[in-house]
Amino acid sequence: MKPPRVFSRLTESLQVLPGIGKKSAERMAFYLLSYPEEGMMIVESLEKVLSEIKFCSICGNITVEDPCSVCSSSDRDRKKICIVEKPMDVFAIERAGVFDGLYHVLGGLLSPLDGKGPEDLRIEEMVKRVKEGLNEVIIATNPTTEGEATAMFIRDILKTFNVKITRIARGIPVGADLDFADEITLLRAMEGRMEYKE
């Protein structure tokens, strides 16, 4: 006997999520069946998120208001932008309170294995912001292979512009994620940033 069609549809849709295979999807689906209230809560918050959250048209971070609160703030140094991979990295740096400029969220990293090239990242938008005139671009991608490759790629594009390019220090262990770095580590990484040259 096969599982009911509606059930398989749920497990198949769960599998589109990153890191979720068939087995985990089935486990999740059974869990949701056994705890229907929790399932409904997920449905509600998902609906809310999908209808209310958008991407900031300037920095690409997730936000309810566009532009986001960072981009529309008057207390921030608008001549400095910090380039990160994903929205959670912005929140990590904000939580640590170690940076007073603006952000630019790439929305991913270069990764041929996942079919991700420069056209899938918000590179053009970044170049446009740099052209408008900036003092410093801080590249704060993670020190993973993909993070380093993307940092290098960005540097190669930006080096023709008249802007100081820096890279956050390796306070963060190799291969680690900004998202998990504690506040002191982030502070050191930000303060110890160095000019990023070939």
Partner: protein, 360 residues
């Protein structure tokens, strides 16, 4: 320091195992297939978080079970590994986010029969020999190695999907990543081989009266790696993967001026392997300032009397040695701690000296 006790649950043929170990030479005796290798495999796994017999951790889970737990007390440091789909390592009960940080907390050098492949087998076997050897005293090496392998996978995926004659856009970024990480890897390996040679020569000489040469063979033109990539683009696209770099390096062992892999006798190949492991142990003692635990899984069974004598002398330098063997006569050689594994009703039992039987 030495390993004071071992615990295992659902590891290979052990359902539960609790065993106290002693400093000095521990002789693990028993018939074929009772679990001698399984026992030393636990110790090796606690050091390197991998087996010397299989790359697949699932093979280590007791048939019919879904997880294993092993732990050991090394001095007052407790190392524990839990495996169920994924590996979790705890040092003194603290979960290790990065295995590389805990690698070789218990320093172990193992000489096992699969080590013959270091001389005889494919180059990947010799690279693994170096990689593990270096990681025992230079943990960042593991991280650099994984950055390198990741960049390699990325570049290979571009090569695989490329068409000959066409530009592969963005490939240089990955080549730079490869070159950037290749250089510390190759430097560390060459340094390792040089140092190892220094220790291996006298050991091999004392075992055989012969000289040994160990040379590093570079898998690329490291001075001009980026240029090499550019020139060999066509060939690499045809093959669909990267042909140059540390993942193609090799070691060449020579005795009497000729490649041992090609021309040495079986007995000499075995003695090279033994010398390499002893050299590794000596080098590690020097660098870390503590003696590793030595494991000998067979490999000594067929040594003649004189060689066995020499080897026993070499083993005296170590605080703790575990020897797994079917050779009963070894116990007459000295004041060894004897562990005897026997099978009862299909389950292994260990008897320590004249002591009571440890139920397992």
């Amino acid at each position: 320091m030495y390993l004071k006790s071992l615990y295992a649950k659902n590891f290979r043929n052990f359902k539960t195992l609790k065993l106290d170990l002693e400093p000095g030479i521990n002789l693990i005796l028993g018939d074929n297939g009772v679990g001698k290798t399984n026992l030393v495999e636990i110790v090796y796994f606690l050091s390197t978080f991998g087996s010397f017999r299989t790359p697949n951790d699932d093979d280590l889970v007791r048939f019919g079970e879904s997880y294993f737990i092993i732990s050991g007390m090394y001095g007052d440091v407790k190392v524990e590994v839990r495996y169920a789909d994924k590996k979790k390592v705890l040092v003194n009960k603290v979960k290790q986010e990065r295995l590389s940080n805990a690698f070789s907390t218990i320093p172990v050098i193992a000489l096992t029969s699969s080590d013959l492949e270091i001389v005889d087998g494919a180059p990947v076997r010799r690279r693994r020999f170096m990689n593990i050897g270096i990681s025992m005293y230079k943990r960042p090496y593991i991280d650099i190695l994984s950055l390198y392998s990741r960049a390699l996978k990325q570049r290979n995926s571009l090569l695989k999907h490329a068409t000959t004659g066409k530009e592969i856009s963005g490939i240089e970024i990955w080549e730079k990543q490869l070159a950037m990480n290749a250089s510390p890897i190759v430097t560390a390996r060459k340094d390792y081989i040089n140092r190892l040679l220094h220790y291996a020569v006298p050991v091999f000489y004392s075992l055989t009266g012969q000289d040994i040469e160990i040379a590093y063979k570079e898998g690329a033109d490291y001075e001009n790696l980026m240029e090499q990539f550019k020139q060999m683009r066509k060939k690499e696209i045809e093959r669909g993967y990267t042909l140059y770099g540390p993942h193609r390096d090799d070691i060449i062992f020579k005795t009497k001026g000729h490649s041992a892999k090609v021309s040495a006798s079986f007995g000499i190949k075995r003695l090279i392997t033994i010398a390499l492991r002893i050299a590794q142990a000596r080098m590690l003692t020097q660098i870390r300032g503590e003696e590793p635990i030595l494991i000998l899984d067979e490999m000594i069974g067929e040594l003649d009397k004189e060689k066995l004598e020499l080897l026993s002398d070499l083993l005296m330098d170590y605080e703790q040695v575990l020897i797994a063997t079917t050779r009963e006569d070894l116990q007459e050689r000295g004041d060894y701690n004897i562990y005897r594994i026997e099978e009862r009703d299909g389950a292994p039992f260990i008897r320590k000296g004249a002591e009571t039987i440890h139920s397992i």
